[in-house]
Structure formats: structure tokens, C-alpha cells
């Protein structure tokens, strides 16, 4: 399948700002999905995109697949229902740092703990971009935002460590300056059974960059490239495959239990 068939062209150009990292994520996501459909590994009629509220959560609206645009912070809660009601579905959650880590933080850790078989792509641009650039749980310490004009006094969440601590079996971190690696990461995440989490460090030039001496998208991408490493280097953010293990997914355990319990009733 050509990726162009997956875009709702009547809605393009999208509403995202010039140089928005979410655009790159949309670009990479539709290409990865088109390749998976072409290979016959996924069925477009059984692939669902779920998102919450925020700039990143608008992405499924541009993709010609079934999707749920849910309430703020709740895409993983809706995805849990989808996956348990119909385990045949490939459920992909597109969310942001505010959606996934703040208001939806509990859904995130509990989906990781249960090992819900979904893929979560989190566009982590350090602020609440849509509402004007307020600080979020991933805003770096010292960074400026509309709600931290003198610098953020709080330490940020490391989302990958958070979900790994909660038991997520497949966790990767990439940036929008690594689109090719990000595409491969989405491929892997779609192949894995269980909870896959991809933390995508992304740029919001409009509401983060311009308050932190990186007015242009290029400066932000240079920052992402220079301050990340696929090896453990002091002072740099670790990117790459952080964990890749196997664990029985939640829906399998639930359906096995249902069978076991209903079998007992019939037998007794």
C-alpha cells in the first residue's frame, strides 16, 4: 500500500505549526503502517488509532483508519476497552507528554503493569503546546515555559524509566531528529506482543523553543541530536532500544481465565 492512500488529503495541510515535530511523527507513522499493510502483517480494517487531547492527539484525524479521539489523558483507558472487547484489533495510541504523563499518568503505568497489548507513541515536546506552552511533567529542570518564567524548579519524569519500572516489556526512545530509526522502532512495536512504549523527543518551536533560545525548528533538532546518545554518556539523554522482552499480554490472561472459570461451571 502506498502511504498516500492512508492520508485524509481533504484535511491537509494539517493545523500543526511550521516545523512541528508531530508532523514528522505523522509522516513516519503512516509510512510504517503502509509498509506493514503492504507486507500483509497488519490489516487496515483491524488497525485502530486512539488519541487523547493535545497537538499530537490530532494526528489520527489525518489518517484514513478507524480512530477514537478521546477525552484528555484517557486514550489508554479507551484502548484497554477496545483491546479486551476485541483482541484481534491492533491498537495504537498516539499521545503527548501532557496527555500520557500528567492527566493520564495512571492509565500509562497501569497499562504497563498489566502488559496491555498496545503500542503507545508518545510525542514528548516538554510542554503543553496546544494551550500555550505551560510546564508539564517532562519539562526539564530550569527550562522556561509560560508557567515557569524563571525556570522550572521541578525535576522531570523520565517516561521510559517510569513505564519500565511499571513492567513494560518493550520500551524505546528516539527523537524527531532520528526519523529513520523511529520508523524502525514503530515497526518493532507493532510486531511485539504486549505493551510497547516509544518516547519520541520532539520539538515545539512555537511554545518551547522560542522561550528557551531555540526559536527555529532547526535549532531544536540540533539540540536533540547533540544532547542524545545511543550509548550511556554522562550529560546526554539515552536513546535507542531500552528494553525488549516478552511477557504474556493482559488480554490472553483474561481470556484464559474466562475459559477456565466458565469451563468449571459447565463441568460442575
Amino acid at each position: 500500500m502506498d502511504w498516500r492512500e492512508l492520508i485524509r488529503w481533504e484535511r491537509m495541510p494539517h493545523i500543526l505549526c511550521p516545523g512541528c515535530g508531530n508532523g514528522t511523527i505523522l509522516n513516519v507513522l503512516v509510512r510504517a503502517l503502509a509498509e506493514k499493510f503492504e507486507e500483509g502483517e497488519l490489516d487496515p480494517d483491524k488497525t485502530v488509532l486512539v488519541s487523547g487531547i493535545g497537538c499530537s492527539s490530532r494526528l489520527p484525524g489525518y489518517v484514513k483508519l478507524d480512530s477514537l479521539h478521546t477525552t484528555h489523558g484517557r486514550p489508554i483507558a479507551f484502548a484497554t476497552g477496545l483491546k479486551l472487547a476485541n483482541p484481534e484489533l491492533e491498537v495504537i495510541v498516539v499521545t503527548g507528554n501532557g496527555d500520557a504523563a500528567a492527566i493520564g499518568g495512571n492509565h500509562l503505568i497501569h497499562a504497563a503493569r498489566r502488559n496491555l497489548d498496545i503500542t503507545v507513541i508518545c510525542s514528548n515536546n516538554y510542554v503543553y503546546g496546544m494551550t500555550g506552552g505551560q510546564a508539564s511533567p517532562t519539562t526539564p529542570q530550569g527550562a522556561k515555559s509560560t508557567t515557569t518564567p524563571y525556570g522550572n524548579p521541578e525535576p522531570p519524569f523520565d517516561l521510559c524509566e517510569l513505564v519500565m519500572g511499571a513492567g513494560a516489556p518493550h520500551v524505546e526512545r528516539w527523537t524527531t531528529a532520528h526519523p529513520h530509526q523511529l520508523k524502525q522502532a514503530i515497526h518493532r512495536a507493532l510486531e511485539r506482543e504486549g505493551f510497547s512504549f516509544i518516547d519520541v523527543l520532539s520539538q515545539c518551536p512555537t511554545n518551547y523553543g522560542r522561550r528557551n533560545d531555540m526559536r527555529s525548528p532547526r535549532e531544536m533538532l540540533e539540540w536533540l541530536r547533540e544532547n542524545t546518545s545511543t550509548e550511556d554518556e554522562p550529560g546526554k539523554i539515552r536513546i535507542g532500544v531500552l528494553r525488549d522482552e516478552e511477557r504474556k499480554p493482559f488480554h490472553e490472561r483474561v481470556y484464559e481465565l474466562v475459559e477456565e472459570v466458565s469451563g468449571d461451571e459447565e463441568g460442575g
Binding site: 495541510p13 511550521p18 508531530n22 514528522t24 525548528p217
Partner: protein, 72 residues
């Protein structure tokens, strides 16, 4: 000699962020002074594409296509 690749830019989709110019290792894309109908300055293909497709993949507006086989 005909070029092996060419870069096509959908000018109606472009928002002039110039990430394509930044990412290109062959300097095959450059900023121009032309603008599209919405007022965004456009990049232009100046030749020399080696087909790495990084511009295609990084473009936040899905406006770039790397075509094999040079200028049509």
C-alpha cells in the same frame, strides 16, 4: 548526464520550516525567496540528490517526495 534522483516539493503543503534543507547531507535543497499562496517561504531543489530520503522522512508537512530517475 541525467540525475539519478530528483526531489519534488508540494508547494501547497509546505510551511517553510526548512528542516529538509537542514537535514540534506548533499546540499541539494536550499532556501528560496519564493512564497506559496499562504505566504510561507519555500525551499527549492538545486540538484545533486543522492537519494537518502531523509528530507522525505523528516518533512512535518508530508510535502516532499524523492523520485528516482531525475527531472521529468
Amino acid at each position: 548526464m541525467a540525475e539519478e534522483y530528483t526531489v519534488r516539493i508540494d508547494e501547497s503543503l509546505c510551511k517553510g520550516c526548512f528542516l529538509c534543507v537542514w537535514v540534506c547531507p548533499a546540499d541539494a535543497l536550499q532556501e528560496s525567496d519564493r512564497r506559496n499562496e499562504r505566504g510561507y517561504r519555500l525551499p527549492e531543489y538545486v540538484g545533486g540528490c543522492r537519494g537518502c530520503r531523509q528530507c522525505e522522512l523528516i518533512c512535518p508537512d508530508l510535502a516532499i517526495e524523492v523520485k528516482e530517475g531525475g527531472e521529468e
